[in-house]
Symmetry: C2
Subunit: 189 residues, 2 copies
Amino acid sequence: MTTGILPLLTSRSSTYEYAERLVGDSDMMAVLEAARLSPSFLNLQPWEFILIKNNGMIKKLLEQAYYGVYHCNDYECRPPAIIAIVLKKKYYDGQYGYPRRDKPGIFEAHLSISMPAMNMILAAEERGLATCILNVNVPETGKLLGLSGGDIIPLIVCLGYARPGKKAAMKPRKSLESLLHYERYGGKK
Amino acid sequence: MTTGILPLLTSRSSTYEYAERLVGDSDMMAVLEAARLSPSFLNLQPWEFILIKNNGMIKKLLEQAYYGVYHCNDYECRPPAIIAIVLKKKYYDGQYGYPRRDKPGIFEAHLSISMPAMNMILAAEERGLATCILNVNVPETGKLLGLSGGDIIPLIVCLGYARPGKKAAMKPRKSLESLLHYERYGGKK
């Protein structure tokens, strides 16, 4: 088990091609537990999860997902499991949702809802699983998984094991020097 | 050093009251490195960071931040450092930003931009630092830190050490049973 946030972030990469090997129940529960324990604005925990293992549904979901400039069919992207993260309308636009302040609650909701995805992929990496977070066609994905009433699925997480030889290296990252400012935007050390 | 994602998520809580003790440079760099290594949609890495240590500016920033139903003055919230996460307009609304598909790029940008915040607080927790992620008044915060041209700061991260006796317990989380569906929304195991 790799440990430490920096080693995990360095070894992790998005996997698009998976082996057929299934994810064990205890690993799956640990990944879901990492999602459940995530922080959120106002501690609203504005998420629910759908665990999908049906091959036919996984194929349909991936046809609605985005792969940057690529298409689903450019990969043999068949993970054995997908976790869809559900954002219910009540959290972004309702009486009990994020209060309207200087911006619509939908932004706070989106800031909150990707934190469980981040924690899932770290918990998965720690256990030797391969993952990717995919952005999806929101209306089509919601329809496939039985959502209604304005509830949405902003993103899905694929889980499995990398097909041998198909674990990509980490994509390049910008240097800290190019990203870091001191005291104010543009400020130098 | 606590290790493992689940123990880190369980020990972490949002700290609003800080000791005067400063954050060491190597810890600060590790926290920023965790942010830098974060994944993002299309690997755009749509973030820049401003490291603020000036007490006067920290006070002003916290006056523009939101604490759920509380106000800044309800706490002695004076962390020795704040990292503001900058989202430049070009990433959410420009030629090089997230492509327009079924939804505006601003949502993909917000999903991406909180992942470095999540990784920062995990790397900080691992090093015994106290943190909180705060939602802010976007226009006022941008003005304070010298942003222009539609660039925004959606959230800030406070860093320091908890004032003795002021590290709160983790806030309650919903049960996994109440959050988890199988195969489709509402689906039972």
